[in-house]
Amino acid sequence: MITCADDLLKAKKQGNKRLFGSRVRVNVGTSTCCLAKGAELTYNALAYGIKSGNINAELVKVGCNGMCWAEPVVEVHQPGKPKIIYGKITEKEVPRLLEAIAKNEVLADMAVARVDSEDHILVGSIDYATDGASPGHPVAKIEATDFAKTQHKVILRNAGSIDPENIDEYIARGGYFALAKALGMKPEKIVQEVTESGLRGRGGAGFPAGVKWRMCREAAGDVKYLICNVSEGEPGIGMHRSFLESDPHAVVEGLIIGGFAIGARTAYIYVRDNYRVALQRITKAVSDAREAGLLGADILKSGFCMDIIVKEGGGRYVCGEETALIACIEGNIGEPRQRPPFPTNCGLFGKPTCINNVETWANIPVIIEKGAAWYGAIGSAKSKGTKVLSLAGNISRPGMIEVDMGTKISKIIDVIGGGIPGGKKLKGIQPGGPSGGVLPASMAKLTIDYDELAAAGSMLGSGGMVIMDDSNDMVKLARYFTDFFVNESCGKCVPCREGVCRVRDMLDELIAGRSDKSVLKHFTAMAAPITKACACALGKTAMVPVTSTMKHFRGDYDSYLQ
């Protein structure tokens, strides 16, 4: 049980003992993305090898460290030596790796990077190479690698380093200290801190989080709810899943602080049904926190009571829309409703409800611990903090990354992502899910910034960045996205249900070579009512894939015209 600051320190010690034990620590990434590449086989082979070879090592399942391109990833830390990150350790490579571990050697040809020390935003410097520097080490320092050098790990500070199913390891890296601090503050002050930090909702639209919190806090009524949105229904996004699988306690901590500040005693974490591993890990995190006394009655003797319910979703894109999500939690079909009233006044079960997405909640402990001024110094003028992106598509190093707001897209593609593979050229960028449309290569000079992308007719979305090379046909891509919107329409508003369907048919005709120039006018004519007359963002943005590709890749359309 953790009931006071001393207990937290005790847990921290316990966690550090696990993280820096006397044995070799071997971390195996076991997020869904890792598992897809055979991480489970790697883990089993390692477990068997360690046991049968009597190797003095501790094998731990961790989350994803973002290096999805190098998976299965295994990290090996010999006490006192730098931590070595190995990539592509398939079952086949395990014997070699075990041999190296047993002999205290480094398997340089499989290593991706080494970590001498880590600059952790909450606990400061974490030293691995305590035996001293190792000049002439065969493996490059992580800070020197293209993949890591421009990244800034604020949200992903623990991802891939800790056992997501162990609360002590989270506490050892500064976890739940922000909660202790927050519970000693006035709720009003917490809201003010969040407002001053400039944090904007990471779900897509970028509404200031502090303003939303205040609206919900000041709304009439005793019963209020919080919701953490992990619906993530847009195709091409995986970082929320990865994050939840890697550091679930950060979300739990953010929600408890939010509950205290806003005056809510129940929070829901809405997770998509397809995310089996994420569901399992967040459920475990919630029950561990409850067992430790960090959830439930009288948290850290503050008198504040709160509980979290993990809700498995139903697998519909539209449920990422807040009113549809509320309907889903209430046990109804996920149809959005008109706003106002906004959920901050009339949300779940008709009570004031504050909905933020998982990344927004995960920012809260950092803001409380480091202060609004520290946080506000990161990022661009109007978009503060960092942004977690999942980088996918035609790119050399796909993965889960985190950069400061204001980072140039071209830098993300060329430096972090390692450019376009196969000697092809960049053609299009989808910065944030289908609703943000596709931008041409010339717009890679734009930065990750809510307002800058909005001005360019796109949106940051929740951060699923898909890179497309010049082999992609944008008309077919638009058809793919339109088909997605047809399938995901809830059917409530006619323009979305019927109109988008017609557009798909028109695209089919176009692709079949049976359309003339007039079809382009029809697309434009269809876009206006669909964009204006739908109740929710899904309908309003359903035409963006077509209109944006028509605007930027007109040549692709012309090539199909009769």
């Binding site: 999805c68 229904g233 195709p235 397809n274 046990g331 598509g393 035609n394």
Partner: protein, 300 residues
Amino acid sequence: MAEVTWSPEGEKLFGKLLAAVPEAMRETIKPKLIQMLAQRAGSVAIDEAIIKTMVQEDLPEPQKSALMQAIGMQAPSQPAQEGPSLEWTGKSEIMFELMLGEVPEGMRAIFRGKLSAVIAQKTQSGAVTEDHVNAVVNEIVPEPFKSSILKKFKTLGDFDPAIIGEIVKRFGTSRDKLMFIMHAAQDEIGYLPREAMLAISDKTGIPVSAIYSVASFYKAFRLERTGAHHVKLCCGTACHIHDTAGVGREIETKIAASPGVSIEKTLCLGCCDCAPVVEIDGKVYKGAEAQAKIESITLA
């Protein structure tokens, strides 16, 4: 058929009576009823009074009560009331409900009471088993209902409805728990059969129409049994971009040709870095591994 004459009111009432008889039996029952009426009427025209007496005195229960009510007579002593309270085991309750499902809606309440009483007699205040319900169907239910009900029993599915009771007990009956219950039931059974939805409705009091609307709206719920292997094909953007070779379509065709394997197209599985991916029996596979796995399950 006996030669009979009708008074105008009598003929009207007889029409009403016949309308209350389930359609499938109407042709069989009609001559029998007319014969009974002819016996009572002798040479006089059949009027309302004769029909009412016939129904009251010549018909067996539970048809008697049901038809009396259908033609607007006061049914005999405590007709449609709650039957004895029974303790159901196994699939017995669902079988009982299925049996009642064959009864026209207007008569169902009466039949429920009467049949419960028959079952109570059989069990002699013990728990109801599937055998008891089977026996009732075999002994009292006339054809063609008997065959139809027995056929339905066979397709009842192989899940134990008692689990629904347990699940509902675990989550409670409020509306916001509905999806939790449905997810749990699906995890347990593998899909959501009609009977499971009926059982959930019965235990929670949530209308079955509402349950069906939720089940059919969300893609997470499957209304049909999946194959021995279930494949989810990711339709995310990255998978779309990477699948230039048409692997997805190939998998679809392959599975369509292999009985026992089912396929579902799904929203982005969130493993965009390793596109194209498929989920096979709950595990995510990519590239060559996925194809090898598909190969192995479609051959089997």
